[in-house]
Symmetry: C2
Subunit: 320 residues, 2 copies
């Protein structure tokens, strides 16, 4: 059942991915509004992770003198075509590669970077912005997004076990190693509001650029109000993109090109009113590709469940 | 919104993909049954595109003396772990790479290859099997799957335009090039029976190995019985895996790890009873990565719509 061979299959995925982002009018119009509120006539703009270049086109519509649009992927060809067909070939320079490696042709007045993962962090946003401030931007340049806030909640997600688990399969095979790996990797999934067991808490927020420590600890304690199953933590973001334009993918996600982040628990836990659920989630500001989450569930002060999980424990992550 | 950076995101996708295939008990048990009906005590088996190696484990359960399990992906590490933890490390050799490039250590009595795309063809099945017969198998060796049959039907899929199309988006941007590209690439999608406008027809079938011409033409004419919208052709397969074990992903797919193949039309067509819908779909037996589909709709003998589409027209396919 594996998909079509690379060329056709990859192109289908690639097209559907970018079409789905363009079709997310909440996302795209929020960025459009923030770009119009931020970019002024004559600005130089840098757009990092430009994708189809839609935000660069908006920057031109807002009066940018020139835009440097950067992406490492093959989508840069689509972006270049789109700019040409929209008469903007001479106002946008397309640069293929990593913004942290490329040499800036000139300093910019505005940075645009839609590198927000489902949790806000998770696509290298902080390190991208820090590097851009040092090398791509003039002092005092504007940044879109302006702020990022990470929110977490314990959730009980129906179908999670069925998606992650192989332990129950009856093929006469021991799947325990694969099972363990599968539970130690965060996922992108849609979280319905009904799955959220306790009100979400803000566990981290920053105005960009972020200048704090390299390790980002995100901790919270939740008090259970209603009995139910908890099998993961869900996470999402809230961001003031600029000019007061707020974008969030809180469930039910109004911006459908983002799902939410899901950090599975090693095992589902039945919780009761009054139980306390403590989580300590960590990632690193430089790459934010490694995730560690420790969970404790307390009842009347006694620990009834405790899990220590990390993507570091998944050998696939390093060998894949 | 782009997903997690490569390592975590790729691992999540990779795990979910293989877990979903293992959890497809219709798929996995059909192959298990075919393997047990085919492999006899002492056989040498080659498993091409082995994934987690589940079919190689079944071959051992069925009495194989030795299995050569081949995959080009990082999943081979998972497969090796799984074999070791199931006490089969000395009976399965894991070979990383393309079966068409690797050198066979010995000739096999049975070939297993689950390289069936949603349409049957589409993952290089025919060329993989042809090469294996020449280089990997002893004369008269058994092949799983034994037969492949491709079926096609005109469909009217709700939400197809919304998934593929950017033409209606109101951002002050001309998306016509991206729009055209998006309509000329086949997709994997779930087709509900209600979407099927005319009974499916078998447009190609073969017992493996396939020894026919390099170009595979798949043509059919459908007579419309009920008025409705047609916006694509849907396709699926039916296969006798071996020993009379039949597997199919006809909608509604009983084997959920396969969706169906969808070949969009350039434009949706409203059809009326008595209309004739002709399709000529072509691919190549050597790589089956290029797809061309020509469509004609006739009413009272007069052409009311005609589309000529091909993945060759999508520049992204070559530059991506």
């Amino acid at each position: 059942m594996t998909p079509l061979p690379p060329s056709t299959h990859d192109t289908a995925q690639f097209l559907d991915y970018h079409v789905s982002m363009l079709r997310d009018t909440v996302r795209t119009n929020a960025f459009r509004e923030a770009v119009h509120a931020t970019v002024v006539e004559g600005d130089v703009v840098v757009d990092i992770g430009c994708g189809t270049g839609i935000l660069s086109l908006f920057a031109c519509q807002a009066g940018a003198r020139h835009v440097y649009a950067i992406d490492r992927g093959p989508v840069l060809d689509v972006a270049r075509d789109l700019a040409r067909r929209n008469g903007l070939a001479d106002r946008i320079s397309f640069l293929r590669g990593e913004s942290t490696v490329l040499d800036p042709p000139e300093r910019a007045d505005v940075l645009i970077t839609e590198t927000l993962w489902n949790l806000g962090l998770g696509e290298g946003l902080l390190s991208t912005v820090s590097d851009a401030v040092r090398r791509w931007l003039r002092p005092g340049a504007a940044i879109i997004p302006g702020t990022v806030e990470v929110r977490l909640a314990p959730i009980g997600l129906r179908g999670l076990r069925e998606r992650l688990s192989v332990a129950d399969l009856d093929y006469g095979v021991d799947f325990s190693h694969l099972e363990a790996a599968s539970r130690n990797v965060p996922r992108s999934m849609f979280i319905w509001p009904e799955a959220v067991r306790c009100p979400a808490q803000t566990v981290w927020s920053a105005r960009l650029p972020y200048g704090g420590p390299e390790t980002i600890p995100m901790a919270a304690e939740f008090v259970v109000e209603t009995a139910g199953t908890v099998n993961a933590f869900g996470g999402w973001f809230r961001s003031d993109l600029g000019g007061g334009v707020v974008l969030s993918n809180a469930p039910p996600s109004a911006a459908p090109s983002w799902e939410q982040a899901v950090f599975p628990l090693s095992h589902a836990v039945e919780v009761a009113p009054g139980d306390r659920i403590r989580v300590a989630l960590e990632t690193d500001a430089t790459a934010d590709t490694t995730w560690t989450w420790a969970t404790r569930v307390l009842r009347d002060g006694a620990e009834v469940a405790a899990f220590q999980q990390s993507t570091r424990d998944v050998r696939l992550l390093t060998s894949a």
